[in-house]
């Protein structure tokens, strides 16, 4: 397994830039294990990323990789997938990247149901710029631009994507790594737009301000607050408050954009 997984990394580009305690490396680990499980072909797969800490992951992966501009990863990926539908395309984004500046591209990629696998690294904060609140920062949490706690309500990106037309949504954490690997595999094997949100820890820019302890403590927080979807069904909204649901959240079938366009070409 070790060898199968290692071939997906650009070893000469390591060590990575992430801080001690950061969960991004765990997501990257789950991702390459998922690549191995689905037998991902490095020569017909493209990894696209946006801007932010998490989006540096593309540089460490041995594929055709594209590190884009802030928020635009899905739009670049749409161009790639539409131009060459036979390629497999993964898109790595952060929560601010996908939920704020890239929000429009997210809902429209979902609406088109274009066959992209989007993986959101949700660390609840803009980490690279030093800890400003994002659209996924929980209400009342502190950030460098919210010293008294955020007033804004956060997005649920999985719900947003589902409402916009995504045909696969799921959530895991960097504590639940086997689940995360499984969900990435399922998302990658799903035809259509799939979104897998990963709750990951940023002890430096988020945890520290919100007294959440070390990277380890934040992992334990994920363990306690991530409620499996089956268990969540038996809980009342009151009991679910302050927690989040993990697992496969939504799955359906719908026509995929590039296939539908190909059919149009063939009809002419």
């Amino acid at each position: 397994m070790q060898q199968e997984v290692q071939k997906y990394l650009r070893y000469d580009k390591l060590p990575h830039i992430w801080c001690p305690g950061c969960g991004n490396g765990i997501v990257l680990g789950a991702l390459i294990r998922a690549f191995a499980k689905i037998g991902c072909n490095q020569d017909n797969t493209v990894i696209v990323s946006g801007i932010g800490c998490s989006s540096r992951a593309s540089g460490y992966l041995d594929f055709n990789t594209l590190h884009t501009t802030h928020g635009r990863a899905l739009a670049f990926a749409t161009g790639i997938k539409f131009a060459r539908p036979e390629l497999k395309v993964f898109v790595l984004m952060g929560d601010g990247d996908a939920g704020a500046i890239g929000g429009n591209h997210l809902i429209h990629a979902a609406r088109r149901n274009i066959d992209l696998t989007a993986i959101i690294f949700n660390n609840s904060i803009y980490g690279m710029t030093g800890g400003q609140y994002s659209p996924l920062t929980p209400q009342n949490s502190r950030a460098s631009t919210a010293s008294r706690g955020t007033v804004e309500r956060p997005f649920d990106l999985a719900e947003l994507a589902k409402a916009a037309g995504a045909t696969y949504t799921a959530r895991a954490t960097t504590y639940h790594t086997s689940l995360l690997t499984k969900l990435i595999c399922n998302g990658a094997n799903h035809k259509g737009f799939s979104l897998i949100e990963t709750v990951t820890a940023c002890p430096v820019a988020y945890g520290r301000r919100n007294k959440m302890g070390s990277g380890y403590d934040m992992l334990m927080w994920q363990k306690e607050h991530g409620i499996p979807v089956e268990k969540a069904k038996k809980l009342t909204p009151e009991e679910l408050k302050g927690n989040f649901i993990i697992g496969e959240l939504y799955k359906t079938e719908a026509p995929e954009f590039t296939e539908a366009y190909q059919q149009l070409i063939e009809r002419i």
Partner: protein, 379 residues
């Protein structure tokens, strides 16, 4: 090829751009509706799928520029078309294309600004935005057609230059030329040269996608055609990996500049009309050069030695040409549908050799021949 057209016909400027793109081999368009460029999108949405090509209407201008770059990285000749407000939004990823050296063509059918301005009125207010619209030092090519026929041939040229130099190329046309209908005689397929980007030979050990050739242009493989590498608009080394090394940084930025500036002979196109003995030279581009041509003809009829210099490539700036004209002419007049954006460049290149004046009209109307003639006669 089903894009073949009858030899002579009536055609609109925007339509000629769409047809020129198809003739150049464009097979991908991503855009967003905006007046007065929309016909280009409409025509390509209809024609591209008949050639196996792709049309996508993106959610915004930012996304359409991004999709164009993504498609080009896989090897498809790709373009977008827009006007002022949309051109502002394209700037972000136009910079990406310049920095990551991704061939693509961006059409800006200029309309009156600033901001939303008068959407249906012509202007030439985006001359400087075409040069410096995206942040940071970068090189760029912008071409400026003055007829429907030239809208066609320059679109082919735009794709050729973008593939040759791996750079975004802007077609900076305007509402007058975009919506003008006139007779065109389109070349037969094969009459206009079509350039395709270079590909690296297969099986290279230690392939570096951003290692430049002698002309300063790297041979970047298309995605998933045998090489795996990283593309980023961060400063990067020859392998494509991000770098903050001052030596790497300096080398990259200077190379991006030099790859155009050291190959000007291949890039700078211009037209000289009766400039040999001209005492007064009119420097005009785009729709205004049509009025200038008429004004020069009328001035000659009155015995005034006037001439027209028309930059077709407006960026990079025709430095040599203007400098040489400035040494012979008594005065240079630069009529523009803006407050004098190009005139300042002409003044700079003329180095005080001669007087440079402008005819500047910002009413949302085309400058007329009589307005230019009046300026010629006043000197």
């Amino acid at each position: 090829m089903s894009a073949v057209l009858p030899l002579a016909r009536l055609m609109q400027g925007n339509e000629a751009i769409a047809e020129g793109a198809l003739a150049a081999g464009a097979r991908f368009f991503a855009g967003y509706p905006i007046t007065p460029s929309t016909e280009i999108a409409e025509i390509l949405s209809d024609k591209l799928p008949t050639l196996g090509g792709k049309y996508i209407q993106m959610e915004d201008e930012l996304g359409s520029m991004a999709a164009v770059i993504g498609a080009s990285l896989t090897g498809l000749k790709s373009m977008t078309a827009t006007s002022g407000p949309g051109f502002s939004l394209k700037q972000e990823n136009l910079g990406f294309a310049a920095m990551a050296e991704v061939p693509c063509v961006v059409v800006n059918v200029q309309r009156f600004g600033p901001s939303t301005g008068i959407p249906t009125a012509p202007a030439q207010g985006d001359v400087m935005q075409a040069r410096w619209g995206t942040h940071g030092d970068h090189s760029i090519i912008a071409l400026c057609p003055d007829s429907v026929q030239e809208s066609y041939s320059l679109t082919v040229k735009a794709f050729n230059l973008s593939e040759r130099f791996r750079t975004p190329v802007i077609i900076l046309t305007d509402e007058v030329i975009g919506h003008l209908r006139e007779r065109v005689c389109l070349p037969q397929p094969g009459d206009l040269p079509v350039v395709d980007r270079k590909k690296p030979p297969a099986g290279l050990k230690d392939y570096k996608p951003y290692q430049p050739g002698e002309d300063g242009v790297p041979v970047v493989a298309n995605f998933c055609e045998g090489y795996r590498f990283h593309v980023t608009s961060l400063v990067h080394d020859e392998s494509g990996a991000p770098s903050t090394n001052p030596v790497v940084t300096d080398k990259l930025i200077k190379r991006l500049h030099d790859k155009l500036m050291k190959n000007l002979d291949e890039i700078v196109l211009s037209e000289f009309c009766q400039t040999d003995d001209a005492e007064i030279v009119v420097v005009a581009y785009g729709a205004v050069s049509r009025s200038a041509r008429r004004a020069v003809k009328e001035a000659r009829a009155e015995g005034i030695k006037a001439g027209l210099f028309r930059p077709i490539t407006i960026w990079p700036f025709p430095e040599k040409e203007i400098a040489s004209l400035s040494r012979k002419a008594r005065a240079i007049i630069v009529p523009e549908m803006n407050m004098g954006q190009y005139r300042l460049e002409v003044e700079r290149a003329a180095q005080g050799n001669t007087r440079v004046t402008g005819v500047n009209k910002v009413t949302g109307e085309l400058i007329t021949p009589s307005e230019i003639l009046a300026a010629i006669k006043s000197l």
